[in-house]
Amino acid sequence: MKSLLKGSFIKYIFLTIIVASVFSCDVIDPNNYMEPIDVEVDTTEVLENKRVVLIEEFTGHRCPNCPGAAAEAHKLQQLYPGKVVVMCIHSGFYAMPMGLEFSNDFRTPEGDSICNHFSPSTFPNSTFCRMLVDGNYLVAYQDWETLVEEVINQDAIANVKVKDITINENTIDIKVDTKISSESSINANVCAFIVESKIIAPQANGDSVDETFEHNHMLRGAFAGAWGTSILGLGVDSKSFSIDINPEWNLDNCSIIAYVYNSSTLEILQAVEVNLK
């Protein structure tokens, strides 16, 4: 038999692939499919039994109408303490640095990923628990108040709790417990983000620029990417996350936002915000 393989380096390539393939099987012993882990999950105290609203506000420091949305968010948080979580995502055209006045770059890769996904064509814009409102994920901030009143009285099918916050020299470690109590298993993810408030920086406001505008709830970083990580779709789960500290952050003004969402519909099922310190 005439063989091309004989004496050729090709046979080594094939042998390598074949050997690597044959030995690349991890058959798990049926008695060892899973093992108990020592994580305390509080299944009785996990937060609210009513929904907490999560507003993703798409904004930018050069967006002249965005202070209006910020004011509305502030008002709702005063009206419904602990029931409205706001995450300001600086992304898109109005968030790009420009000139000396707007030299800050508050954009984040995760914020851009979320903003690009929902593709707002106008700013400010938002999603409201990523619910479809009139068939659209994007919601004008003028509609928030009506929606808040509807949603915060709904029973939550998911709960989320941030605990064991540890601030190390260069990293922040957290644990996030989740619980989903729907009738059947769903596809669900949990996300966790760092947001910072009391950032004084220029902001376009109507025809003028407010040089000492206070930016609040600004997305600064993500523990598990823009879209989080999957969790058990029914019952209790727990995730540990870590994030590198950016020296630009003022940790005294930072908080952690965590939420659970249905990864099939993207709807945010429950959210929580806790202060970092």
Partner: protein, 573 residues
Amino acid sequence: MNFKKIILAVGIFLTVSNFLSAQNFFDQSYVNGSFQTDGQLYLSDKAMGITDSILKGNRYGMNTFGELNYSVNNFRAGMRFEAYTPPLKGFDTKAKGLGIPYFYASYSNKYIDVTLGDFYEQFGAGFALRSYQEWNLGYDNAIRGAKVSVMPYKGIKVTGLTGYQRWFWDTKDNWLGNNNKGLVTGFDGNFFINDIFDLEIDPQFTLGGSFVTKNEKDLSKTVIFNDTLQKLNLPDNVATSAARFNLSWGGFSLYSEYAYKINNPSAYNNYIYRPGRALFINTSYSMKGFGVSLAAKRVDNMSFKSKMDATDNALDINFIPPLTKQHLYSLPSIYPYASQLNGEMSLKGNVIYTIPKKTKIGGRYGMSIEADFSIVYDIDRQPIAEGIPINQPGTKGYESSFFKLGENRLFTDFNLTITKKFNKNWKGIFSYIYLYYDKDRVESHPIGEFGIVNAHTGIADVTWKINSKNSLRMETQFLFTKDRADKGHWATMLLEYSIAPNWFFSISDEYNFGNKNEADRLHYYNFSAGYVYRASRFSVSWGRQREGLLCIGGVCRYVPASTGISFSVSTSF
């Protein structure tokens, strides 16, 4: 040096070496390619519930690709540009963007075929591996890496490959060595026994085998079992192996493939450890004017993706071939069958007979009769132990008797088609189709939301060739559902006027006259025109699109209702 630069360097080296060595370089160079763009402008339509606020910021979509391939002597290279700006409605929004997601360089001769870059490949029927692209589904699971096929002796072909699969628009940093999806490695052997032993007689016999693994790192998953939090012991390496044979003897052929996948807990199978199995048998016989085929398939837990927690239409390493007919007419396509990778048992039979010309029934031109039957059941599933629910994460999931049908019938399709040419100017295609469709289970709705649909469809498709250049095609369809299930009854009329070889115009209306909800008894009208010049096609249409599933090869995507103006341009060279 990143992977793209390596491909570029190899491409330039091979091109230059060919250029220097070949005297008639340009005579042996070939360039071919294709281009297509599909766009739609979406309009509000109060009757369909499409308001301006729904369309806000999403009034148009456009999907475009351009592919270019170059070959000289034994060398080939190519690339494909894609743009979804933004994607048409119904395509995954993660497709939004533009770039060059596919490029390759390859060299082949009589003994070897080497490809670096992106490639498509299929082992056997696809149970172990199939990477492919389907433009109309927005599906592409191309593998980026290396593939080597060796033909060391006549009748023998051995293929090895390794790489990462495409997932929409992977960022540059994730092109290779991506920690978020597994490395796919596999090999396949195909042995044409008659060629190997110089047997130039029937029967012809082919043997084949495949082995494919996925390596995924840093996996973790916790579940609750018996009120205790448990961490799953997850396999980093999951393998699927498959064996197949094909026997052909005159008009008879028999193909069978069996695949086995080791424990592969994943989001798709609810993190159970049961091994996957699939058996596929297809036999057929054909002779002049007559053909018959019978196929059977059993699939048990055979989803195999290169990312453990992926659940959408992406990153599939393998493919489960459907055993149901893909209907081309619009009304029976309302109820297409989507392959159930977690389990299905199906049977399909097909008979086609052509009544000869110049007989009483066949007439001057003959008549073709085709009957087709397919039925799909769920597989049997029993608890692995008392008190443990079926599909409990972190367990084997369930026990299943190989030959026992599950209690739920998912799908049945019986259809009869008669094709008859009456004279040199008139011909017709007449069909009757019965469909049984468990909409809840096939489309993964909550059980009881839609229920079972029993649909009867009659179709008459008549073409009148007016003269050598002009023809008129008339299509009439009626679909009735028992108890007006789902959206009830439909009627469709289509008139298509063609002026050969360049122009066509059509007008059609799908009327949902039997919808239980009177407000939803809508007309889905459409007007279109097109121009064909050699290999190029231009078309434009205006009208409504009803919502539904578009399925190709058992893989489906949802198409939302829309109203608007669409256009399409395609060409190849």
